[in-house]
Amino acid sequence: MSETLETVFHNKSVEEKSVKTVTIVFQPEGRRAEIAHDGTIMEAALKVGINIVAPCGGTGECGKCKVEVFKGHIRETQADKIWLTKQELEKGFRLACTAKVDKNIVVRIPFATRLFSQKILTSGEGEPVELDPDVYKFFVKIKPPSVDDPRGDFERLLDTLAFGRSDFAIDLDLLPRLSMKLRNADYSGTVTFVGYTLMDFQPEDTTDRQFAVALDVGTSTLVGTLIDLKAGEQVEIASRMNPQMSFGDDLISRIDYAATHKLGTLELQRRLADTLNELILELVQKKKISPEDIYEVVMVGNTVMHHIFLKLTPEFLGQSPFAPTIQSAVRMPAKDLGLNIHPKGQVYAFPNIAGFVGGDAVGVILSSGIFERKGAFLAVDIGTNGEILLSVDGKLLTASAAAGPAFEGARIFQGMRGTTGAIERVQIENGHVLLEVIDNVPPCGICGSGLIDAVAELRRAGIINESGRIVDLSAAGSKRFPELASRIIDHSHGKAFVLAAEEASGIEGPVLLTQKDVRELQLAKAAIATAIKILLKEGNVRAEALDEILLAGGFGNYMDRVSAIRIGLIPAVPVEKVRFIGNAASAGAQMAVVSRAARQKAESIARKARHIELSVRPDFQEEFMEAIFFPETETIDV
């Protein structure tokens, strides 16, 4: 009996020793777990019903259960050192399965580490992004104050969420309303945080209504993507013409307008904001939500568009040395820019690389992941202002090329954008001209991809020579394909080639490719090709050594790769090395919408990329003159 007693007593003392517990608070849901001293974070999570991914079964062998210890310190384990980067370790990331907890800590579990988490992949390229937006909504039930517990409403709310940080702020417009709002809602409702600021309190559970918009502000086109932040999904997309087109179709004309008119920048900005609001309205109407459900707008654009968007004068981007006002990312209230979203909504504008290489290029680099891959990758975003990006084992070089709007159908005699009635494909077979027209209607004009095809095919048929001249086939004595010869006519813009005769066209008169069109295309493609050539030279990479050429931009996707090579727009590499990556700038913006880590990457890309200013290069003009020519090509016999 006494022995038993003694045993019990002894056991009790042992238990007392081991019963020493520690508290772990999990974010963002604010759950608390008490576990034994030296238990693991994984155990604690399971205890309170938070499921962490652990493909290896919690043995430290897969590195998937990353969590962030942001209050308190946990010793690094051997497994941590294997699976986590130095930066992650410094930030307090640990593997949940091996992290032994010996004091109270607060842990944030990234969405990627949660078992239920959904990995999102924005349009194809790059690594899946873990859902960790800057906007968070939580539904909370707060204990009302009492005589025993007279904590302030704000503290009460934060304590309920148990964020474990002291640096939270409250929006100053919400502050005077907070007490009333909480009481009217019986201390139950949805809080919205943007960054570390409490922005809104809404009665009821509105956590399924948290949206953001990724905006791609192009010189010619605006594209907005609505993103459901809860699901981490792209839900709607809409586009508009940039209203600044009426001030000129290239960047210089916008700069000129802003610089030479009183309040010019503000006028350009207001027009832009008006159209962006229309676009946002279209997005929310499609999704049947309200503009107030949008908490954030993430913007990518070239540096000029970026400056105008933020009401900064682009004047100095138009003069050497092209220094922007700011290169870093900018965060500011959306209402200050005249954007109609949630009254407390924020704007995040991507960082810029240089005067003519902006956040859109950063977006392309980010979403294509080229800076994280070994090898030599060339990414080309073809637009009015083309961006050429080269990554050699992660070393980034950028250049910009003033291609002008020919690829968008502007300055082309019967050029049009890629809409109904535009010729988008041209093929010449056995002396016949085959056309593909958008929406299968009689052709009304030609868009960028059709223009490239037409010139490439006419080049192949020998109708356009190496220097770009339309050759008169009958004069050259060719009789094999009379149909082709008969299509060459005289026109006020020099010779012209009839793509669609009047009776087959959807307009009064035929659809033509004129000599001047060929010349415009030559200038545009030479600008891009020269930038590529100089960048490759600078990066010490031969074109043949490129692992891939990635074509970005709305237009790039519709272009025929063989035709692009044939006209010398991109270097002659095997066609399978050329890949379309869609609207990669917008994809980059979308990644930044859902992931704070992606924003950090974007900022690091903008800092690290080295910009090559082509116009000061002594070899620019010579290369440009060479690039005006079309490459030698195999020709079909006509």
Binding site: Q319, S320, R519, L523, I628
Partner: protein, 212 residues
């Protein structure tokens, strides 16, 4: 014997190799560098200029022709220097401060060179001071300034003012050009002449020198 017309045609067509070969051959045939330049290269470039002005051809072709001319000139230049052909005049060229766009300015330079003028090219992003000191030192007849942007175009006036301050304005005739520049602007800032394109620039320079 190589016909001058053939050389001219090679320039008009922009066939650099042919232009170089024909020039070489013409030299071997004993034609003087001066004749080849005048009757072959310049004659060809003149046709290019006229066609360009009439909108029959566009910038790429002018560039292609200029490139052919440059190739042919490489053969001729050493000999032209030897024979000490007296240039028709001396022209200082430059793109104004803040502006790096020089394709137009270079075209003007090539056309003028082809037309027998001596060119002092100050390059791009040229400060008013640099223009002024070139005017002071070079004893040139003409100063030509180019700008592509309205934002940099205003620098032309600064240059003219700087010349005036240094008492250099009378030493030289000032001509201006570039996309945003107009005859009106030329008069407004007190320049002596404006040309809308490189071919007209040659005519303008000739006319200004003749009127002196």
């Amino acid at each position: 014997m190589v016909a001058f017309q053939k050389i001219a045609d090679s320039i008009i067509l922009g066939n650099a190799k042919l232009a170089r070969d024909l020039t070489e051959q013409a030299l071997q045939d004993g034609l003087s560098p001066q004749e080849i330049l005048e009757n072959g290269l310049i004659a060809g470039m003149n046709v290019v200029g006229v066609r360009f002005r009439k909108n029959e051809i566009y910038v790429p072709e002018v560039l292609i022709s200029a490139r052919a001319m440059k190739a042919a000139l490489e053969n001729l230049s050493p000999m032209l220097t030897q024979t000490k052909v007296k240039p028709k005049g001396k022209v200082i060229l430059g793109t104004v401060k803040g502006d790096l766009h020089d394709i137009g300015k270079n075209l003007v330079g090539m056309m003028l060179e082809g037309a027998g003028f001596e060119i002092v090219d100050l390059g791009i992003d040229v400060s008013p001071e640099k223009f002024a000191s070139a005017v002071e030192q070079e004893n040139a007849n003409i100063l030509g300034m180019s700008a592509l942007l309205t934002t940099t175009m205003i620098g032309m006036k600064t240059v003219i003012d700087t010349l005036a301050v240094g008492n250099l304005r009378d030493k030289v005739q000032v001509i201006v050009g570039g996309a945003p520049v107009t005859q009106h602007y030329c008069e407004e800032i007190g320049a002596d002449g404006y040309a809308p394109d490189s071919a007209s620039a040659v005519d303008l320079v000739k006319a200004l020198l003749d009127s002196k």
